[in-house]
Amino acid sequence: MKPLAPVAIAGIGCICSAGLVLKECMDFLYKGKRNPAPPVNFSTKLTFPVFEVLEDFFQSNLFEENNILRTCKLALTATLEAISDAGFDRKILETKRVGACIGTNVGCSMHDESFANDGNTPFITPVNRFLFSNPTSSIASEFKMTGPLQTVVNACSSGSDALGLAASWIRSGICDIVITGGADEMYQITYTGFKSLLINDDSPCKPFDVNRKGLNLGEGAAVFILVSQEIEKEMKKDPRAYILGYGSATDAFHHTKTRPDGKGLKLAIEEAMETSGATLSDIAFINAHGTGTLDNDLVESRVLYEMFPGVPFFSTKGYTGHTLGAAGAIEAAFTIACIEEGRVPASVGFTTSDPEMPPAYPLQQNATINGNTALSETLAFGGNNSVLILSTGEHPA
């Protein structure tokens, strides 16, 4: 594919266990802290650690609708930060062609414990609430949007796929502004489901480490405000960053396991690089998926060693847990913040290299980086691979 036009990111919002806004999250990451613990937002007899947003984060007085799913509350909170970060008055969203494209998993599944526990003749209010409150609908309703809406349910790559698709909406001219990203809440089914697959670590996760035993789940949201070139010119401040390229491909191999030869991931990387117009030497660092599962980390390290020899990489899952449909978006937000800051966080949890892996190891200390372009990648159930090339600075040529 030919290089595509860069798409400006006017503002970013992020919430996860590391912090309630993006700046707070980055400060937390650079300190090398993490606080996984057994879940408290639902009752369970299992004790695998997770990364929940424990604070009472939702400021109900700022939003019209409050009887919504937790995933929607996370998404709305991040959206408000992103709008503020862009320097927009939220009224602008009512007058422009504004679309929303959000990735999620739990936020789009018909689940409600009160319904399931209400015997054989339950009230259907929870079903009704579900039908009208996935995160995309909540954002569209709250900000009175008039453009296209799409909810991406590509499992763990949903957030990054949403960003790539939203960029297409801007390029093709169907929207002036797109609110995009990912959101997911911690939920009992996913918690128990990952245990059934034997890929939950019963201790804090250790991405890329020889002793890794699996992932820890997390929750959160990251939201981006994408704008057209016309809106970019009207803005009083420079865009925060640009989406240069996006690629996605499928393993066509297994429902939950990563394809051993990494071919799907390689195809996604190739498409992202081609559409970005960037070269290998432009990539300052890679924000890897790095879940801490045996298969994912092994395949990912081999692909990165083969395609990006010598390029520093890290995983932030050790700080946030795996936030599923939000992961790609949260990690894209971290990637942009790292380019802005000129440094990347240590890959917490990694201490000992795995002899099965090639001699390419994630960063063990915070590191300074040079350059303004980076790659963020996500791999997902179903063999989905999604890659974003992001940059900061002046509008790319």
């Binding site: 789009c108 018909m110 015997g119 089914i189 059934s196």
Partner: protein, 364 residues
Amino acid sequence: MKVSIKGIGVLGGFGCGIGDLNKTIITGKSSSAAMVIKTTDGDIEVPAFLANTDRLKSFVSKRDLRRIDHYIRMALLGCFLALEDADMLHANRGKMGIIIATGYGSTCNTFDLQHSVITEAAPFCSPIQFSNSVHNAAATYISILLKEMGPNLSVSHYDMSIASAFLSAYQWLQEGRVESVLVGSVDEYSKILGYFRHCLYNKGNKKADFAGKMNHEYAIIGEGANFFVLTGENEANSPYGFIEEIKMGNFKRKGINLPENTAFFLGADGYSECDDQYVNYLSEDARVASYSHLYGGLPVGTGFDIAIAALSNKFGTVFKSGDSPIYNSDRLNVIRHNEDLGSRRICCLKLGAGGSYGWVSLNH
């Protein structure tokens, strides 16, 4: 850009395959099943159009089918039928994208899973059941069985799922990401939906906030799958015509810009809160039809309307509408008899929750 429809695969209460859908349009009748749901207040009976997936055995081995539930089987059969219809089942398909839309996802599996996790003494979850409950499970099985490694997207946005899936398919072809897109949708009947319908339409039921609001006579739950093979090739190659345009927006906030010289296929199925709103956005002389009496009420019903529109293009005929559920039909110009399509395009229009709308227009 004109996007050709090269093949169609459909299944539902009307039967299996585009031929069965065509026959049902002519007879004007599908047969529903009476589904019984046990509750502590007694048995509830609800009508539903159900899909049969027996034909899947001719495409997929028994071994490959053993862990696949009804929801995924419907999606697989729809996709194989579409590829067969496009004569692309065994051909070199080039770079193909896969996009699957669903309104509810795999609800039977998800609720069984939820029940086992929440109500069992020790939380338990079958790994197969869990991985099949993930929304992109159907797209996963398709990519594995077809060995397709191109872009793969699953979307779930209730009534707007079809419009958003077609929007992405159109953009992928426009950008040159892929040479063809297998785009389709699937939704299944579940006892939860049956119970939901019972509450929605039973005036005496105190479990619903809005019991008795709508007319239940024509609201029959539907399930099934509809799949399309789309390419950017010249429309002359396609008897079904081509996708001309896809639009999404919010009619309550900004109205709807609808195309001219058009026959409108309305997605009124007795379930949407907006079924009575079509009359407010169509001109008095607009010719309209609804076919949900053939496939039932389901979030991805617009996909069946697109298949019927493609058949209209193929035969140059707009087929007669069902009687309802077009509310205010006395104020709409309903197509009561088969008529010549002429030079008109067809617009498949769906009004959904919160004032959302989506339309897909086809031309020939």
